[in-house]
C-alpha cells in the first residue's frame, strides 16, 4: 500500500511497480484513508509519506503498530525531511524502514525487497 497526499507520487510508485508481479498495489491518499484501508485489506507493506495534512505519517505509523490487527504490517516511511532526527523519529514510531525523497526507482525496489523478502 502506498500512502501519500501527492497524487503524483502515488502515480509514480504505481507506474514503477505495476510491471512487477510480486507486488500488488493499493493506494491511499491521506492518513485517514490509509488507516481504514489498512485495517480492511491488511497489506503486507505500507509506503507511508511523512508530511501529510490532518494526521502526519508518524502518527499513522504509531496507530498501525499499536493496533493488534495491523501491527504486523511492515511500514516504510517516505520522508523529505532534512533533520537527523528523521531516522530516530521513524524508529520511535515503530517503522521498519525509511526512504528519503527523491528516491530512485532502483532504491525503492531494493528497499521493498529487503523488507518484504528479507536479506538474500
Amino acid at each position: 500500500m502506498v500512502v501519500d497526499d501527492e497524487e503524483n507520487v502515488l502515480a509514480l510508485v504505481s507506474a514503477a511497480l505495476e510491471d512487477d508481479e510480486r507486488f500488488e498495489l493499493l493506494l491511499a491518499r491521506g492518513g485517514k484513508e490509509a488507516l481504514e484501508l489498512a485495517r480492511r485489506e491488511k497489506p503486507e507493506l505500507i509506503l507511508l509519506d511523512v508530511l501529510m495534512p490532518e494526521i502526519d505519517g508518524y502518527e499513522v505509523c504509531r496507530r498501525l503498530k499499536e493496533d493488534p490487527e495491523t501491527a504486523s504490517i511492515k511500514i516504510i516511511m517516505l520522508t523529505a525531511l532534512v533533520e537527523e532526527s528523521g531516522e530516530m523519529k521513524a524508529k520511535a514510531a515503530g517503522a521498519d524502514g525509511y526512504l528519503t525523497k527523491p528516491f530512485s526507482i532502483a532504491t525503492l525496489r531494493n528497499t521493498l525487497e529487503e523488507i518484504l523478502f528479507g536479506p538474500e
Binding site: E6, N8, V9, A11, L12, V13, A15, A16, D19, L51, P53, E54, A80, L81, V82, E83, T100, K101, P102, F103, S104, I105
Partner: protein, 634 residues
C-alpha cells in the same frame, strides 16, 4: 475477846478495806496497778480494759514497758528505770501507750515505790489516766497558736495607733511595725510619723482627708525604712473622735505591698507588651492582605502609608510616606516635619526606598513603634523581592518560550521547504527514470511527460518563492519606486492566473484613480498571488472582485472572493511563513504557506499595509494600501 473473834474481825476489816480500795480504784477513773521491782504487773484494776483494752489477767506478769508505744519504748524504759533506781515517786508522767487494738493512748501516770523491810525496792504502786483527749487538744492549740503567730508575723500587718497633726506620733505599734519599718518600737514611739513618709508633704494631704472622712480610709504611701530602702505600703486607718468631734487618735494597719505592687507593674508591662504584639500582628496581617490583594506596587505602598497612620500611637497627628525607587507614595498630602522615624526598604541587600512616619506635633516615638516599623519594612522588602523574582522568572520563561517558538518556526521552515522542493523532485526523477528505462504505451508516456512538465513548473514557482523569502529575510529585496497604473497592472495580473469557468473576475476602479508609487513587478506579483488565492480558496467558484478606492494619501486595493473564508483566530497567522491553517478544507488546497508572507513583505516594502476581512463560509477580502505617486513639486 477470844482469838477466833479477833481473827474474824481482822479479816472483816481487811475485806472491807479491800473492798473500799476496789471501789475507789474502780470509781477513780484511773487504772490502778502494781508492778514488781523488774516492772512486771502484779496487780491491775479492771479500768485497764477501758484504758488499754486489755483485761487485767492479760496484763499480769507482763512488763509495763511492753505497753508503751514502740517508737518511745526505749526512751521511756530507761527513764522509768532511772526512777526505779532512785526509788523516787513518779508524778504526772505522760507517755504514749498502745491500746490493744493498736491506737495510741496517752497515759498520765503517778506512782510510789513499795519498799521492803530492809529498804529494798519491792515494786511500784500507782495509777494511770487516759489523757489522750487532753493531749490532742493541747497539741491542736499549740499548732493553731503557731499558725496564728506565723500568720501575723508573715503577713507583716503592722498595727498602730497614732496622733493627728503635723507632728503626730505613734502611740502604740505592734512588732510587725518594727519589721516593716526597720525601726525598733522605742524609735517608732519617739519619731514623728511623717518622718516615715518618703514625701512628708503627703501626710498633710492624708490628714486633710482623714479630717473630712467618717469611716476608714485606705491610701497607698511610700515609706522610707531605717536602712534607707523605699517600700510601698497600704495604710488603712480610722479616726477615733471625742464627743465634740475632735480627732483623738488614729487606729490603723499598714501592709507592705511592695511585692504586690511589683507584681502589678509586671502585669501592666505584660499587658502593654501583649497589646503591642496584637497591634503589631494585626498591622502585619493587614499588610499581608494588601500585598496579596493589590496588583501593583503603588497600591500596596499607599495601603502601607494608610496602615501606618492608623497603627501608630497618635493617629490624628501621624502621617506616613513610602519612598521606593525615587518615587513617593502617601495616603494623603502633608508637609514632612522633623519628628520623623524611618526604616529602609532593602531588596536583596540593596536599599531601594524608605518607610517614613512623621508626627505633626512633638511626640516621642516608642520602642514598640520602632520595632514595628522595622518589621513592616522587612515584610514589605521581602514581598517586593518575591514579586520581582517572580516577574523575572516569568520574563525569562516567556523569552525561552519565544525562542523555542522561533526555533520551531525555523525548523519548520526548513522542513517544509525541503519537503516542498523534494516532492516535485521525486516526481521528476521518478518519471524520467521510468521513461528512460523501458518501453511504455503512448498514453502512459504522455501522461508521465505531462506530470513532469507540471511538476517542473511547480518546482520553479516554489524555488522563486523560496528565493523571495530568502531575499526578504536577509533584507536584500530591491523595490523600485515608479508611478504605476493600477487598473492596467491588475488586468494583466489576472490574466496569468489559471481559473476555470466557475470563476469570474470583476474590476471596480474609479475613473480618476491616481497612479500609485511602487515597483511594477512586485505589484504584479502581489495581485497574482492574491487573485490566485482567491481562486484556490473558492473551489465552488464564484465572483472575484478586484477593486480600488482613493484616499487622501493612499490607495486602498482589495481582492475579494466568495470562498471558504477565514476564521478570526486563524487570521492572525495568515501572514507568517509556512503557516497553513489546520482546517481540512484549507489543507486540501495546495499551497506552500509562503504566498501571503511574501505578499505582506512586498506591500510593506512599498510603504503600505495589508489586512483581511473575512467570514467563515462566506468569503474573504484582502486589503492593501499603497502610497500615491506624488509628482515633484506637488
Amino acid at each position: 475477846m477470844r482469838h477466833k473473834e479477833k481473827v474474824r474481825k481482822a479479816k472483816e476489816a481487811l475485806e472491807k478495806s479491800e473492798k473500799r480500795f476496789q471501789d475507789i480504784a474502780a470509781s477513780a477513773g484511773s487504772w490502778v496497778w502494781e508492778v514488781d521491782a523488774e516492772g512486771r504487773y502484779t496487780y491491775s484494776s479492771p479500768v485497764v480494759e477501758q484504758v488499754l483494752g486489755y483485761r487485767p489477767e492479760e496484763v499480769l506478769g507482763k512488763f509495763f514497758y511492753d505497753f508503751f508505744h514502740p517508737d518511745e519504748r526505749k526512751k521511756l524504759k530507761s527513764a522509768a528505770f532511772n526512777v526505779f533506781r532512785k526509788k523516787e515517786p513518779l508524778a504526772n508522767f505522760v507517755a504514749p501507750g498502745i491500746h490493744k487494738d493498736g491506737h495510741v493512748v496517752f497515759l498520765e501516770t503517778s506512782g510510789v515505790p513499795i519498799i521492803g523491810p530492809e529498804g529494798e525496792l519491792l515494786g511500784y504502786r500507782g495509777a494511770s489516766r487516759d489523757v489522750t483527749e487532753r493531749v490532742r487538744i493541747e497539741k491542736a492549740l499549740r499548732e493553731s497558736e503557731e499558725k496564728y503567730r506565723s500568720l501575723v508575723n508573715n503577713v507583716k500587718l503592722g498595727i498602730f495607733r497614732s496622733t493627728p497633726g503635723p507632728r503626730g506620733k505613734f502611740l502604740e505599734v505592734n512588732p510587725a511595725m518594727e519589721e516593716i519599718t526597720g525601726y525598733t518600737r522605742e524609735e517608732l514611739l519617739q519619731m514623728d510619723v511623717s518622718s516615715l513618709y518618703l514625701h512628708p508633704e503627703e501626710r498633710e494631704k492624708v490628714l486633710e482627708h482623714m479630717a473630712a472622712a467618717t469611716g476608714k480610709v485606705t491610701k497607698e504611701l511610700e515609706f522610707r525604712r531605717k536602712d534607707g530602702s523605699v517600700i510601698t505600703v497600704s495604710d488603712t486607718k480610722v479616726a477615733v473622735r471625742d464627743e465634740s468631734g475632735e480627732i483623738l487618735y488614729f487606729d490603723g494597719i499598714i501592709e507592705d505591698i511592695t511585692e504586690r505592687k511589683k507584681a502589678e507593674e509586671e502585669r501592666e508591662k505584660l499587658l502593654r507588651e501583649l497589646n503591642r504584639r496584637v497591634n503589631e500582628l494585626s498591622c502585619l496581617h493587614e499588610l499581608a492582605k494588601s500585598i496579596r490583594r493589590r496588583s501593583t506596587l503603588p497600591e500596596i505602598f499607599q495601603d502601607v502609608a494608610r496602615l501606618l497612620e492608623q497603627a501608630w500611637g497618635h493617629p490624628e497627628i501621624t502621617r506616613a510616606r513610602v519612598i521606593f525607587d525615587n518615587e513617593q507614595y502617601t495616603a494623603r498630602v502633608f508637609e514632612p516635619t522633623r519628628w520623623r522615624q524611618s526604616a529602609d526598604i532593602l531588596i536583596r541587600g540593596e536599599k531601594r526606598g524608605e518607610i517614613e512616619v512623621f508626627y505633626l506635633a512633638p511626640q516621642p516615638f516608642t520602642e514598640e513603634e520602632r520595632s514595628l516599623l522595622d518589621n513592616i519594612a522587612n515584610t514589605l522588602g521581602e514581598a517586593i523581592e518575591r514579586r520581582e523574582v517572580e516577574e523575572e522568572k516569568a520574563r525569562a520563561s516567556a523569552m525561552a518560550a519565544a525562542l523555542r517558538e522561533a526555533d520551531r518556526i525555523k525548523t519548520n521552515f526548513i522542513s517544509i521547504a525541503s519537503h516542498e522542493l523534494r516532492t516535485p523532485l521525486t516526481v521528476l526523477l521518478g518519471f524520467t527514470e521510468l521513461l528512460l528505462r523501458r518501453e511504455a504505451p503512448e498514453e502512459k508516456r504522455r501522461d508521465w511527460l505531462e506530470r513532469i512538465h507540471r511538476e517542473s513548473k511547480r518546482l520553479s514557482a516554489i524555488v522563486d518563492d523560496l528565493l523571495n523569502v530568502s531575499r526578504i529575510q536577509s533584507g536584500r529585496m530591491i523595490v523600485e519606486q515608479q508611478p504605476l497604473d493600477l487598473p492596467e497592472i491588475a488586468k494583466e495580473a489576472v490574466q496569468s492566473v489559471a481559473m476555470n469557468e466557475r470563476h469570474s473576475v470583476v474590476f471596480d476602479f474609479p475613473e480618476d484613480l491616481s497612479p500609485v508609487l511602487g515597483d511594477r513587478d512586485k505589484l504584479t506579483q502581489i495581485l497574482v498571488n492574491l487573485v490566485d488565492n482567491a481562486v484556490k480558496y473558492s473551489p465552488q467558484g464564484g465572483k472575484i472582485t478586484v477593486a480600488a478606492r482613493q484616499e487622501p494619501e493612499k490607495v486602498i486595493v482589495s481582492v475579494s472572493d466568495q470562498g471558504i473564508g477565514i476564521a478570526p483566530e486563524d487570521q492572525e497567522k495568515l501572514f507568517t511563513t509556512f503557516t497553513r491553517i489546520h482546517r481540512p478544507e484549507v489543507e486540501k488546497i495546495r499551497g506552500t504557506g509562503l504566498g501571503l508572507y511574501i505578499v505582506k513583505a512586498l506591500v510593506e516594502l512599498m510603504g503600505g499595509e495589508i489586512w483581511v476581512e473575512s467570514e467563515l463560509g462566506k468569503g474573504s477580502t484582502f486589503f492593501f494600501s499603497l502610497p500615491l505617486f506624488k509628482e515633484r513639486g506637488k
